[in-house]
Symmetry: C2
Subunit: 427 residues, 2 copies
């Protein structure tokens, strides 16, 4: 099969799902197995499965491009001659009429039983093209970049934020004290750790009650209210009340762990929310880390944006997790690509971030419409949190001006001091 | 580290999460990395991370048991000397106070960022022990085995069901005709395919309107109303209305694709539902198929039951998917194990099922408190659906009597005819 073979016109009533697969079947046969399982087929041909029905409802093979094998282990239970195994990028076209513009029902077709097919030694959903009816049904982000900048009074430049550390265990009083220090230090944004939910040791209501007066006093004094993303992740039936608690206290952001309430849970709270939704991607590794199975970030982030994430975690370069810089930069680019005319979502860079990564990141992404979070990188700066924030902000300002990292370091004492602890600098 | 080393008392305020891991770090060090990341740790020690805080909130290593390596590829981005890599079963104890008995917040701790740790060449959550406060918060299944049997008037024996095939594409009129035939054929249960959601080609409302009068007429005539699981999977905000549509028409079951609305979505509709919830596990392969990453069925099914699944798909032996019989039988056993005093969930066996698998299945599971679904195996029986149902029921009755498969085949013409198409028989 020639690379790109089979591509035909995609209509506004079709979804294209793209997979990385490995199989010992001929690639065109394997593609038909996948298309059949996910639309009109069953394991024996049954009455009423007419040719007309198949013509209207069967998924169609859209494109097949063979790729080199990677040497990865085949998935458990896969069948076929290992010597015949080939890897490919395979796209299927699904009629929208099969499921309508409903995310959960779409997923049954493009990401349902197919991961269990024994004909595949690898099968990973890596991209989705969705037609406009999805944007008619789902409004997407309500705030995005502009709304977030407005609420945090940061009209330009990278938005600099931090994460409450230690993740859990602070009393509300200690939390309030820390938040006061961080606000004083000049951050635009503070977030709860994803581990800080609504447990008995620090209930959300108590955290809100402790934190918001500190931020309000800071705003009265300075004219800027840092955005605090309270983690409202919880049972679906509690999300609205959790959100309302934050709103009532003057909060300007809620954080939702998208995979923990489900994409559908995010969509549910989006219908209710009156502040930006900070979309955390905890558990993403469970579905996306394997090269052989699951759902890649590029496909997943489209659904999270459609479901209404105003901010979405992408990881940052030189992070403490497994992802390469290339993967991270692709994730940031993916979140910034236009999607069905929706308001743009803010990529959130975090994990091991500090000022020394600004120039290398900016060189690749060419924007400051980013929320850059440093936990240890701000709290742990040798000269304290204010110096931590200054080091981040000065580095990003320099990068956005087109300067070199060397220039920034020559000018910025906080950045030089940060490098003593967090170096080396990424040029 | 000795097998089972480190086990200490688990209290009613702790969760134990068990993982399969591979790492090049010493196992005890790797265990501390995992425990730290998922509780009080960050990548630099920060102010306020006191020893007292760690003592109260840090996750603790509970047990480490080294396992043989399997030869599977390490996860992308994992670090360390490959020659040092070891595999282990590792359990951590988490203080319940960190998250409280909230499933989404629990998941942040036991199944959040940890899948992204580069210290791990494999990291899969395989089991969970939950303390009683979870059962105080979540009522679990409302109907389970007994409620399901009552509603379908099948007080004993395996519950025999089928799936609408072709999966999608039937008009409501064709669907009604097929349902009439299947009811006539004597099935206890019929379900929508997971691919049949609420699309424009066959909206749920039209399906309900077409199907329910057929079942009501059948019930008037025979005294038995087969249970029909309408797939109500959709946006969270539409689940209750979808459910109510089914109820209003006299329906006795709704199907929810658990992973597509999220475990949290299932829990949400459970609070509203007045009929059994048929839990489909579409997408489970994305999180559970890899041996190296994700969440195993044994852990996942506990959460699905807690969230209220009255029925839960487990696959069946000799299925058309990748799972071995051993895996399937372990899944069925897992669903049948007691869990926090909850009402028992019905395991749902499907995929390539026919009468010839009854004796081998029964020999392993020793119960008929099962919903056994055959799609092609009933629709595609050489003598029609009634013979298909008879072949299934006669085989399961024989198995439950302790007979051999040979005895059943000698007696049952429908079973012999089924074997011509679906054989060989599993003794």
């Amino acid at each position: 099969m020639a690379p790109g073979g089979l591509v035909t016109h995609v209509t506004s009533r079709q979804v294209v799902a793209t997979y990385i697969v490995e199989t010992s079947l001929p690639l065109d046969v394997a593609a038909e197995v996948l298309a059949g399982e996910q639309s009109t087929g069953t394991f024996v041909r049954v009455e009423r499965e007419s040719d007309d029905l198949r013509a209207r409802f069967a998924a169609q093979v859209h494109a097949i491009e063979e790729l080199p094998l990677t040497g990865g282990s085949p998935l458990p239970g896969s069948i076929g001659d290992p010597d015949e195994r080939r890897r490919a990028r395979l796209s299927l076209r699904f009629p929208l009429d099969n499921f309508g513009p409903s995310m959960p029902n779409l997923l049954a077709a493009v990401a349902g039983n197919l991961f269990e097919l024994k004909e595949f030694a690898a099968v990973k959903l890596v991209d989705l093209e969705l037609p406009l009816p999805f944007a008619d049904r789902y409004p997407g982000p309500a705030f995005g970049v502009d709304g977030t900048r407005r609420l945090m009074s940061r009209s330009e430049g990278a938005m600099i934020g931090t994460i409450i550390k230690p993740s859990i265990g602070l009393s509300p009083a200690e939390l309030a004290e820390l938040v006061g220090e961080l606000a004083e230090a000049g951050v635009d944004f503070i977030k709860d750790d994803e581990l800080q939910g609504n447990g008995p040791a620090a209930p959300l209501a108590e955290r809100v009650r402790a934190v918001m007066p500190v931020l309000e006093r800071h705003a009265d004094r300075t004219g800027r209210k840092p955005m605090y993303a309270f983690n409202i992740t919880d049972d679906i039936g509690r999300l609205a009340a959790n959100h309302d608690l934050v709103m009532a206290a003057g909060g300007t952001c809620v954080m939702v762990c998208v995979n923990l309430v489900g994409l559908a849970g995010l969509e549910f709270i989006r219908r209710h929310a009156a502040v930006p939704i900070h979309g955390h991607r905890a558990m993403i590794g469970a579905i996306s880390r394997s090269d052989q199975v699951g759902i890649g970030f590029r496909a997943w982030q489209k659904l999270a944006r459609l479901a209404g994430a105003d901010h979405l975690h992408t990881n940052g370069i030189s992070n403490k997790f497994y992802e390469s810089d290339a993967q991270v930069l692709d994730s940031i680019a993916a979140v910034r690509e236009p999607l069905l005319g929706l308001t743009s979502t803010v990529p959130v860079l975090s994990s091991g971030q500090w000022g020394g990564l600004a120039h290398a990141t900016y060189a690749a992404v060419r924007t400051t419409d980013l929320l850059v979070l440093a936990g240890g990188g701000i709290h742990g700066h040798p000269d304290g949190a204010a110096a931590g924030v200054a080091s981040m902000r000065e580095a990003w300002e320099s990068a956005a001006l087109g300067e070199t990292a060397d220039t920034a370091f020559a000018r910025s004492q906080p950045l030089r001091r940060a490098a003593e602890l967090f170096g080396p600098v990424r040029a």
